[in-house]
Amino acid sequence: MTNKVTKAGSISRRRLLTTASAGAALAVSPFRINLLKAEEAAIKIGFPVPLTGPYGAEAQDQVRAGQLAVAQFNDAGGLNGRKAELIVRDDRLNPGEAATRTLELVEKEKVNFVVGSLSAAVQLAINNVTKERGVIFNSISQSDAINEAADFSKHTFHEALNPHMTSGAVGRYAFAKFGKRVAFLTADYAYGHEMVRGFLEVGKEFNVENLGDIRHPLGTTDFSTLLPRLQALKPDILCISNFGRDQQIALKQATDFGIKKSIQIIAPLLSHASRVAAGPQAFEGVVGGCSFYWGIEDKFASTKAFNDAFRKTYDGKLPTDYGALGYGGVRTVLEAVKGAGSVETDKVVAALEALKYDDYKGPQYYRKCDHQSVQSVLVIKSKSKDLRNESDVFEVLSTEEPNEKNLRTCEALGHKS
């Protein structure tokens, strides 16, 4: 925009400036007409997670860990110099919004892969959109249904644990140790039902006695009418299958009622973020399961490497259980891309199926029939003493090693053997 232009052309400076700035505004605005084709350069990974809503803290941790996996891939040279990129979208914990966002990621952003989700219903919605369009989806939250033949496709992978594995591991540990008389307090929705189903299944091996299952609606704030009824059943074990705030309140009130004196409380899943939010008292002595805890770094070099990289990138913070899943989900896909030497879907699927990996929690692999990640389950106990740092909240009691025996069989899931 020099004088020369103004003199040479018949366009006045003002008009030129207006046009240029209008053009610039249009170029940066999301409303521009998409005439230009998307660049083919970067490997794009769509990442829909619930950044807002009740699981926002967990989701933001997943994004941090996912970005770390991408950064490591790029620092190592990418795929022959081709870099990866994480495209994060907020699914607001709503399956409809997640489906819309996935359509955006696939149709507009032209992502090569999708990794993400933090709820059973949301991952099934994303999965239905991606499998229709032949895009690989690696789910990083718990669900039993996603393994079943009706929802599965060859493009569906499941990096997270599922309720059957989690409750199985906790049940095998607890029923052998604390007794056979079990009572249940269960959140009345898919997550709770699937967990109880898993506990009862594993309970058959131990001849446990089911004293009763009291269901409460999601978002219950007062358990004081339910807890005495459970106490009156005089169980050895009280199994509380709920999540998030429900879990925090139930455990706090159970502590106040003195239930812990005579009864061992177990939970299928103890979330790192919930434990930190509720404080040590409420969770004291509760036994539960999880997919990852940073404290296993003494055992696995991969955990140590992951923790150190995470600390270095995020001011000394340690990754949580759900954060680690974000890392694992993105990293396995990128590893398969490298192994396949391509981003072509069929080649990457084959590479993922062949992958034997140890990225952050010891050895893992995807089972052929349902693409469920066969992995260890940690049985942990919340602790309140001798805390080394603010993330030091659990003690690992035992580890159930990766074993296909602990998964539902391929036939039971409806897959052809």
């Binding site: 007409i33 807002t52 409809g96 489906a99 219903a121 919605a125 239905n128 959109v129 669900s143 898919a190």
Partner: protein
């Protein structure tokens, strides 16, 4: 409204000729706007959602804006349409057009059911009764896990191609999906325009303006209300069916009372009782939500501030205020 022949509020001489032209050809103008709409949208799936929510709000506006009843249970009509369309495809293997018909029929029937029970109440009571009944519908579909998938939602509404007079169309292609759905929405706008311009449309507004006088003039007020509510259910059922086809899933959240609240918000934002207002409201609401949430996780703060501004400066809704200005 000024569109109806009975309107005497607005002397014809006072209005500009372009305004008269626009009201006469309102449905055609809406159709033209809808056809170029996806070109200016951030992504096509959002444009489709705006069409669908616009149609949902159009149906709602018939009861809210034109009949003057605030319903808080329209999610039941929208959701029933979506579920019936989905169930017809997933469990009964119906072709897509039959499934859409099932969705519309579902909306009509559910509206009849709710309407028969609720239509005699007024004001806040009508809002409460419709909300309570829609919660019943929510639990009905929530508990029927074998049919609806319950908590996990209904998946597998997979329509890859649609056959149209021997033509095989790729329904996965986003632009084609948009225009197929747009065809239904445009048709619905023409039907709505016809209803409002008919003598029956005038009766609807007469009931809103003065119930006693309408009754004294010999109109059956209760029947008019019920019929309007059922018609509204048909539009919402169609919107639900299109939503099921578009997203290929039906989440249980579609029946949640938040979905009922959303449509009230959209109608107020766009302008209640205006023909194009619901579509404007849906576009503004969904675009804001989607675009701002990409920039920041604190998008609710920004969107909230914009809503406050809208309420302060556009009390009759965005479209309602613009029309009022244009008429002057």
């Amino acid at each position: 409204m000024t569109e109806t022949p009975q309107s005497i509020k607005q002397p014809a001489a006072a209005t500009g000729s372009w305004y008269e032209f626009a009201t006469r050809h309102r449905a055609s103008i809406v159709a033209a706007v809808i056809l170029v709409f996806p070109l200016v949208m951030p992504f096509t799936a959002l444009a489709v959602n705006i069409l669908i929510y616009g149609l949902y709000a159009l149906g709602f506006n018939l009861v809210f804006g034109y009949l003057g009843l605030l319903s808080f249970g329209h999610a039941a009509l929208f959701g029933t349409g979506a579920y019936l369309c989905g169930i017809a495809i997933v469990h009964f293997g119906w072709p897509w057009y039959a499934a859409i018909a099932a969705g519309v029929a579902g909306g009509l029937l559910m509206a009849l059911l709710i309407g028969v029970l609720a239509i005699r109440t007024r004001g806040i009571y009508f809002a409460m009764v419709t909300m309570a009944l829609s919660q019943c519908v929510y639990y009905l579909f929530y508990q029927a896990v074998d049919l609806t998938g319950g908590e996990n939602g209904l998946r597998g509404i997979n329509v890859r191609t649609i056959d149209l007079f021997g033509l095989r169309i790729d329904f996965i292609n986003p632009m084609i999906r948009y225009y197929v759905i747009a065809a239904f929405v445009i048709a619905a706008f023409f039907v709505m325009s016809r209803i409002l311009a008919s003598p029956f449309g005038a009766v609807i507004e007469a009931v809103r303006e003065n119930e006693m006088r309408a009754r004294a003039s010999g109109y059956d007020v209760t029947l008019t209300r019920l019929l309007t509510f059922v018609l509204s259910g048909g539009f919402c059922g169609l919107a639900g069916a299109l939503q099921a086809l578009h997203l290929s899933i039906v989440p249980i959240e579609i029946l949640h009372y938040e979905t009922s609240g959303l449509v009230v918000m959209i109608a107020l934002l766009g302008g209640m009782g205006t023909f194009f207002g619901p579509m404007v409201g849906a576009a503004v609401f969904l675009v804001l939500e989607n675009v701002v949430s990409v920039w920041t996780v604190h998008w609710q703060l920004i969107v909230g501030a914009i809503f406050i501004a809208c309420v302060l400066f556009f009390p009759a809704g965005i479209w309602g205020t613009l029309i009022a200005r244009g008429r002057r």
